[in-house]
Symmetry: C2
Subunit: 174 residues, 2 copies
DNA sequence: CGCCGAGTTGAACTGAATCAAGAAACGTGG
DNA sequence: CCACGTTTCTTGATTCAGTTCAACTCGGCG
C-alpha cells in the first residue's frame, strides 16, 4: 500500500474546476477518493453530453488521449468537491513494472468498465426514454440522488425537458 | 506461440450458426482467425440490435456472462464462415499464470475495446443518423463492405429504411 | 421458373427535441 | 439573515427526425 502511494499525486479540486479540458493532452488517470467528477463532450450546438460519472472509488480519464498523447476530446470537471489521486503515463509504467499484480488489477478494471459500457450501448439501442431512466436509477441509485437532473438527462441521451416529463408520468402511475 | 496454442480450442463454424445463445452461460471467449461473427440482443418486439461485429483478429464474447457464469444476454452467431479459437475460463486462468505477459496483453485489449465503446457512446449521444453512418464507414470501411445493410442499420441504432434513405441523400449530395 | 431475402420508396404517425416562459431552490455577498 | 442573481426544474405549444407499415423491385439460388 505504502509503495503504491508513491506513484500517485494526491490533489484536491473545487466544484466546477476543470481537471481536463478538451484539446489538451490528458496527462493523468484520475482515481476519485472523495467527491464526484464527470467527463463530457460539448457538441457544435454547445450541448453537453455526459460520458461518465465518477464518484468515490472510480477512475476517470480520456484513455485515448492518455495513451496516445493526442488532444483530449472530452472535458472532465468536478461536480462535488473532490480528493483524487493522479498518475502519469510514466509513473503508471513504473508501477506496472514494480508491482506486476497491478497489471491484473488494471485488466480487471478495464474489463468491468467495458462490460458496463457494453450494457449501456445495448440499453440505448433497445430502450426508450422511460425505461432507460428506470434502468439507470435501478443500477446507480446513489448517483441518481447526487447529480442534478439535467445532467442525468444528458447522460441518458435525452433533454432535461424529456426527463422531467418522464418522471411526471412515473409519478402518476404509482 | 506453440505454448499459447495449447490453451485454445480451434473450431470452425458455418454461416448462420450460433456460437452462443441468449440464456446459456457463455463458456468461451472467442478469437476470430477467419470470417466474421456478431453479437446482438433481441428485444421484446423481436428486433435485433447488434452490439459488436468481430472480423478476423477480433475477440468476442458476452464478458459479463463469461466472468460471472450468469446466463448470457446476447446471441452470438456467424455472418461469414469462420475459423476461431476458443478459450474457457479455467484455461484462461492457467494461461495467465503460465505466461504473465498475457496479463498485459489482455489489459491492453480491454483498454482498446473500452476506448472504442466510449467513442461509440459519445457518438450516439451527440450525432444524428447521417453523421453516425459516415463516422462508421470512415472508421470501419472493411466492415461496411462485408455486412448486409440492415445489420449495419441495426448496429448504428436505426431502422433499415432510415439507413436506406440516409444513403440516398448522400448520393444526391455527391 | 418461382420464391425469398434484401433493399427501396411512399405516406402516416409518434416520441422526443426545440423554443419559450415561469416557478422553485440555492448560495453568495452585503 | 435577507435579497438578488443564478441555476434547476417544470409545463405548454410546435416541429421534426426517425419509425412503422405497406407495397414494390431486384438479384440470386434451389
Amino acid at each position: 500500500m505504502e509503495q503504491l502511494k508513491t506513484f500517485f499525486i494526491p490533489k484536491k479540486y473545487r466544484r466546477k474546476q476543470y481537471v481536463l479540458q478538451q484539446g489538451d493532452p490528458c496527462k493523468y488517470i484520475v482515481f476519485v477518493e472523495k467527491g464526484m467528477l464527470r467527463s463530457y463532450q460539448v457538441d457544435d450546438k454547445g450541448n453537453e453530453h455526459i460520458v461518465q460519472f465518477a464518484p468515490e472509488g472510480w477512475w476517470i480519464s480520456d484513455s485515448y488521449s492518455f495513451l496516445t498523447g493526442t488532444p483530449a476530446s472530452y472535458d472532465i470537471d468536478v461536480l462535488e468537491e473532490a480528493e483524487v489521486l493522479l498518475i502519469t503515463q510514466p509513473a503508471m509504467e513504473e508501477m506496472l513494472q514494480a508491482i506486476p499484480a497491478m497489471e491484473r488489477y488494471m485488466r480487471i478494471l478495464m474489463q468491468n468498465s467495458l462490460i458496463s459500457m457494453q450494457r449501456r450501448i445495448a440499453c440505448t439501442l433497445t430502450t426508450q426514454a422511460e425505461e432507460r431512466y428506470l434502468g439507470f436509477i435501478a443500477e446507480h441509485p446513489h448517483i441518481g440522488q447526487r447529480v442534478p437532473q439535467h445532467m442525468l438527462a444528458s447522460f441518458l441521451g435525452m433533454t432535461p425537458e424529456t426527463l422531467s416529463r418522464v418522471r411526471k408520468q412515473l409519478l402518476k402511475k404509482s
